[in-house]
Symmetry: C2
Amino acid sequence: MSGGRGAEAKRLQMADIARLAGVSVSTVSRALNGSKLVNDETRDRIGQLARSLNYSINLGAQNLRLQKNQTIAVVVPYDAQSRQHISDPFFLSIVGSIADALTDRGYDMLLSRVDAEHLDSAAQLFDSGRAIGLVIIGQWRHHDQLNGLAARKVPLVVWGGQLPQQLYCSVGGDNVAGGAMATGHLLAAGRQRIVFLGDAQLPEVALRLQGYRQALRDAGLQPDPRLELPVPFEIVAAREALDRLCANGLPFDGVLACSDLLALQAVQAVRASGRQVPRDVAVVGYDDMPVATYSDPPLTTVHQPVGLAGAELVDALLALLRGDLAPPRTLPVRLMVRDSAPLHSA
Amino acid sequence: MSGGRGAEAKRLQMADIARLAGVSVSTVSRALNGSKLVNDETRDRIGQLARSLNYSINLGAQNLRLQKNQTIAVVVPYDAQSRQHISDPFFLSIVGSIADALTDRGYDMLLSRVDAEHLDSAAQLFDSGRAIGLVIIGQWRHHDQLNGLAARKVPLVVWGGQLPQQLYCSVGGDNVAGGAMATGHLLAAGRQRIVFLGDAQLPEVALRLQGYRQALRDAGLQPDPRLELPVPFEIVAAREALDRLCANGLPFDGVLACSDLLALQAVQAVRASGRQVPRDVAVVGYDDMPVATYSDPPLTTVHQPVGLAGAELVDALLALLRGDLAPPRTLPVRLMVRDSAPLHSA
DNA sequence: ATGAAAGCGCTAACAC
DNA sequence: GTGTTAGCGCTTTCAT
């Protein structure tokens, strides 16, 4: 044990059970694994004994011997520069969803954080045999690193957008459709100058931006680069950028934000500049986290299928591990229309 | 294209590196562990080789040999009856906080879900050597089971309330103070008939209820049992209970809810019954999740030190593992006053 | 400075 | 049916 001398009794092992039961270790092993080869009476007796002593087969040893392992690593990257912690409700929800899916399927989940600039360091979890596969939450700026891992045959699945030249399996919401849908809604509500909030260096955001631009063009409008604001996910910095936007006099009457929290910051910034939501500026969020339904105003937002996400990610990874093909998967999103951007403004 | 045939490529191991480097496994082992006994040149050469082949020491085998393990299990109980998943933002946040603390200290985190009615089944993670210690989120209805584990010397720390006759180490917010603080605030705001929302079978809730009652008595009021509503954490069922409360004609002008989401359900139920918040009914929440600052109205709520929680839980567990004493710890909470229950009503 | 060999706790041939 | 034995991939005496 790494620590724990203290009150710690030496851990019980199979040999102890064997001695107490008056049989050999093999018999105990067989008994505890429910082998038919062992006498019913003996098996029961050994089972009882083990249970009464809270003995449980050492999984480390068992895995080593059996060359198996049921652990999947779930990797939540963090921003090393801002020392940012896991906090965005969306990441946390998706972790919960994956935890449920893995539990249902009988796998263990190792939750791991890695520097977003070195996503490929996550491979160490696989190389060391710590986990048999990886679920990585987000591509961040390192599509290339993920491709590198896939080229090395590291079994991984990534929550994120589907990109050209992609060697790994991604599962994500339909970001292009989401961006287009949200923008289309704002346009239908009569908004013409729509701000896009999000760092397009992140693939998911880039795809949403693409949908946004397409929707504008479809409406005969020319995207205005000044309205595309590369705010970070980090809330405080985002707010500052928003305040600058509101202060600089550039007119806008709609906002499409790449997360609900970002959208709510936009609401506050707009209000701080003396305008109203949705009257003067309609705001659309992204993710549809619980906060969106309770906020003031409730957010029109693009719903991401978080509940499904865990199962899809896990099933794709398990397919990969079986040697099956796991094509990237784009999950449907839908627009939840609420008061921050109603269809018919008052 | 999602590459990845099955587990084809036989995993690299130390013997392979040894062969390629023309040395013995012992030397490779020493080299990779930075032993001074091996020639500098050889060590570097082996290091390079290993790195270039993405070889990483098999941790399962290493742990078995070294009798060590750096894995902590974090257990998030779930309600088996309602098949409820990890969803309350508070649980998710605290998991994030623990993940950060464990990462900082160099431990791995195994995220595990167990049936809340069988918390003691979490011990299996320890008995099987899967983890060297447990962090359990919440006592639920099974203080007794947790005591049982502690009596068995299972190294565990529990997020929850401090109870009499407690054999295990708990870390939690000051629930009595939180309940009293919130109630005192409502009283100071002139509210007299305050509903308490929460299932007092859960120790944390029971302690908050105790604080609530005490605050009432301190104000010369007699707690009215009809105002103590044992709503579940589960949102839909809670809402139904709230609607019934609003319908049954029992007058009340304040609400203390045991989570922010519960508080927001209360807001909606009150509004659905034709009354206003906070004018007719002031509402106080618990936890101070992000939703509380953005909601309509922003919630007055008891702030729990989630950021601290992870570090406190982990440090307590590590102390236990060192054989040190880990006394239960009650963390300070504070009231965040916002519009759902202002001090001075309009 | 390096190698051979024993063994961590377990399972699975292969005996009997 | 049950015991004996040989490893799973690694570290570490103990030799050299």
